[in-house]
Symmetry: C2
Subunit: 340 residues, 2 copies
């Protein structure tokens, strides 16, 4: 099934069920007022939400309305946990190659993961607010899953079964703040701005054959200022699948329902700079940092700039028939001018 959260002036929005073709929705308020409530009580709520979804797809939902992506918040406008992996090691290899340092052998067996801020996500059509372009604003197009409750030390099989929902994410990074922050040794904090998630979150069964081995095997389409920028396949070159990422997160503590686990920037292994861009036949990129790494490796320094105020980013994924699965994340970078 497909679920979304409509903005309604509250911090958590209101849960709706969305039709498979993203054409209509119906309020799920009688079953669960919010997505977090649905996840907190999944065994009780999921069957009822599935039934409503079936009715909606059959054109039999009693109060269906036209679905408008721009009315959506992120499916979880705020969450109790957002932990982002870095499962596409190609991205890490490029980072390291640009810095002329080796990738530690352990990186191929032990996932990288950071704890992200989850108190105030932004909506999929909300501006990416920043106080300065000098922060080095970058997109990171990723896939993310929402889990149910997971026991400490759960193995990968249990973790695979704990995936409740799948969605897309733009994990906005402030690249120029990263080197200083990593030097301090405590990981990312100020270098990560608020993330935005796709309008629609879907259950794994909805993805059919595209959900294999806890990976989402479809191209992730990224557009920058209206031009194709990336289309790598999220199922390829993923060194750690979502089951492994969840197991990593749960190694020393329980995970509560509604935990979001991200894949890290999707990145496919490719040839060189000029062969990797979409206009030259490559699959392109899911972040600007990756172009800049190719440029650094081949030309000694980066040439592509990070995002400026007014720049726009669109992230979307389509099924084999060309239909949008999750709706789009479509954002413009803007100067922050105070709390809305």
């Amino acid at each position: 099934m497909k679920l979304a959260t409509l903005k309604n002036g509250t911090r958590d929005g209101t849960l709706v069920v969305v039709s498979r073709d993203l054409g209509t929705f119906q309020s799920a308020g009688a079953i669960a007022p919010t997505l977090q409530f649905a996840l907190d009580n999944w065994d009780a709520t999921a069957p009822k939400l599935e039934q409503l979804y079936a009715e909606l797809n059959a054109g039999k939902a009693p109060a269906a309305q036209a679905f408008v992506e721009t009315a959506c918040h992120s499916p979880l406008p705020r969450a109790y946990q957002w932990a982002d992996g870095s499962a596409y090691i190609n991205h890490v290899e490029l980072v390291r190659k640009a810095r002329n340092v080796e990738v530690p052998a352990s990186f191929y067996t032990d996932p990288l993961m950071y704890q992200g801020g989850s108190d105030s996500f932004i909506g999929p059509y909300d501006p990416i607010y920043a106080l300065s372009e000098e922060w080095g604003i970058d997109l990171e197009a990723e896939v993310a899953v929402v889990t149910g409750d997971v026991a400490m030390g759960a193995d990968a099989a249990l973790c695979a079964a704990a995936v409740r929902l799948v969605m897309l994410v733009n994990d906005v990074s402030l690249r120029n703040l990263i080197p200083g922050e990593l030097l301090k040794g405590f990981g990312f904090f100020q270098s990560k701005a608020a993330s935005a998630f796709s309008p629609v979150a879907v259950t794994p069964d909805e993805l059919g054959g595209a959900w294999q081995d806890s990976k989402l095997c479809l191209p992730l389409n990224v557009t920058l200022n209206g031009r194709p920028f990336g289309k790598p396949n999220a199922g390829e070159d993923m060194t750690f699948n979502f089951a492994q990422l969840i197991a990593h997160a749960a190694k020393t503590r329980e995970l509560a329902a509604g935990t979001i686990i991200g894949s890290g920037t999707v990145s496919n292994k490719q040839g060189n700079l000029h062969g990797s861009s979409i206009e030259n036949g490559g699959v392109g990129y899911c972040c600007l940092a990756e172009v800049r790494m190719y440029e650094t490796i081949e030309n000694g320094k980066p040439a592509t700039s990070f995002l400026k105020f007014g720049d726009s980013v669109r992230i979307e994924m389509h099924d084999d028939a060309g239909a949008s699965i999750f709706g789009a994340i479509d954002q413009r970078v803007a100067l922050y001018e105070g709390r809305k």
Copy 2:
């Protein structure tokens, strides 16, 4: 006023107002079902909670009952953000000295802070569960504040005014997992177990003269297996106060109401190993790592072991008259045997 969350079988518990002397409580359910709800709607809920608190202290609350700390969950059993600073630079200086490396000059002007897991805190009297003693289980006794909404880029004065509640925390760390995790560069993740907070959270006005310049100026009492272990003053040697820590967290993103900001392990500057323990006239320690650092600096290697299954930790703070302000965090280390 003083607030607490009683366990009631739900994920968020139920909000109660607690009398100043921790003797009685009354349900706040008619005002706010949970502490997060109260924080989400603070301007509306706080005056009503204050009124109930006044009635309770005057012995006029209509349904007061005896308050029992062991019935409490952490004030926020789960939160949307838990960011922990490392504001007592003495602790960092000892860490570095034990490793024979300099403290970077920037550490005195730019706070260290990591993003912690906040999806499932444990209660103040709950066991500290782990799967292995080999993880190097350690306590970290700290002070923490809960904020209201904070704008991106808010200055320290605005951040000082955003402090809604103050509480104590045991930020359990898995010391033997830290070196490997820090080498990976993404900060702490598996090396941080679930934290526990004091039974009671209090508004800053409740602390009177002990709340000065966004610092809590009282000794933090730590007992290990029933013996005094630490009593450093949390108002001394705090290089960054809570207003500065909140401003650090809000530099590039908004903070939502209910954000918890921690001080890091409380640590006072002292003499050497034998002068620093309580039995030798010092103020002792708020974590085992600090004893081990003194031992390493003076004897070349640590001698004190981390916590074992069955060990107990108690963290509490008293006012000038000797009364417990927040109630106690009182935990025993135990083998994890599955979700409760």
